[in-house]
Symmetry: C2
DNA sequence: TACATTTTGTTGCAAATGCAACACATAATT
DNA sequence: AATTATGTGTTGCATTTGCAACAAAATGTA
């Protein structure tokens, strides 16, 4: 996964952040990230740590909208923060930068590292788009079983093995797949009984041939 | 919705397409778009007409993955064409360009219109990202009723009125929401009976107050 | 206009799912 | 180490949903 500063040396990174008038913020674990970041046209950039964008609807259902890792960007429709139904939490101590999206769009690309920055941004967005497409593919499956299998296939393909480690706990996985946790638990039991998967903690092994 | 050639005059558009080694293709209505476009790292650019990306899974469920209008781009993870489960059809006579994604990434931004092109591309991707986020929000609703209401709210917000025209027929809408068409039809009947909406052909009117 | 194709509305029914409630296990905090 | 909080597995049950099948309506085409 490409970094926003890929092929940009430290000195130029600083210049860039200065030109973009980026603001550096540091948060401790499980901290709620404030409203100033939720303004439109503001881009957050994760430097270290990790964050989650959570949506809680009126009936209390929590959904993980996005998982943010270093070099990930969020806000300004890249990841949605629209309205105040969205909350961002740090999962661990994290450092982020805040940049105005317009200042990125208006970045004059006369310097090589400006241009490199733009390319990196495009590639990251492309990567994010791919993840969203994958999520949509999972969510369009009509049964819990098929959602799980689609998700497992994607994870397995990503590591190139039949065995992979869940990046979630099971409660979060149910949120991600937008299904009831207990119903998911039941279905995973059936998948095990049918000899399709082996589950050991967060380690999943697929026993079937992918078509 | 911004156009890929926004603020780039006709002469420079041609130069740009030449520099990017873009290939022009023309298709008639309901035409299946060939495999050459489905290669990875290829970007399609819709000039005129409209297209749909359809996925049909092994059990025959069709899902509209994306709707493409002029200035929309597709392929290379921007809209997924991975594998051969995806099909693209023109919905009307359409002209598209095919561009190698790498040639975009390596575009030297020494000319003003190159830079403008890059900005436009970023904005389009941002817009596409927003649409995918909206779709994810809809799909994460757990009931057909809530999926419909979420979708109606988004459409209504987009036009800024309680009344809007569906961009789909009902069969396609069910595909888009990833629900059974007849079950959707039943739920729409209940929504009408409950006095929440009025449906006249493709014209939907919301009768409730959005929170 | 007549015919063929596609879309829509409806319904019965079986299967899948969400929900609630609970005990147990695991992890975090003091 | 003790206590608290969080995550997991399980089950009964009511509700929702998908599926199949069909007629009526709308649309497209010869």
């Amino acid at each position: 996964m490409i970094n926003l500063f890929h092929n940009i040396e430290g000195k130029n990174q600083e210049k860039l952040l200065y030109t973009l008038e980026a603001t550096r913020l540091k948060f401790s674990k499980n901290e709620y990230i404030l409203d100033k970041i939720t303004e439109k046209n503001i881009v957050g950039l994760v430097i270290t740590g990790s964050l989650q964008i959570i949506k809680t609807d009126y009936s209390g259902n929590r959904t993980i909208i996005d998982e943010l890792k270093p070099a990930d960007i969020f806000g300004s429709d890249i990841s949605p923060l629209r309205g105040n139904e969205y909350e961002i939490f740090t999962k661990e101590e994290s450092v982020i930068y805040i940049i105005d999206f317009d200042s990125i769009l208006n970045l004059s690309l006369d310097r090589h590292y400006h241009q490199q920055f733009m390319k990196n941004l495009l590639e990251i967005m492309n990567e994010k788009m791919k993840m969203k497409n994958e999520r949509i593919e999972i969510l369009t499956k009509k049964s819990i079983r098929n959602k799980l299998l689609e998700y497992f296939n994607i994870e397995s393909n990503n590591v190139g093995k039949r065995e992979f480690i869940l990046p979630f706990n099971f409660t979060e996985l149910a949120d991600f797949l937008a299904i009831d946790r207990s119903a998911m638990s039941r279905e995973i039991k059936y998948l095990k009984e049918d000899g399709l998967i082996v589950v050991k903690g967060k380690r999943i092994t697929l026993l079937y041939d992918k078509y």
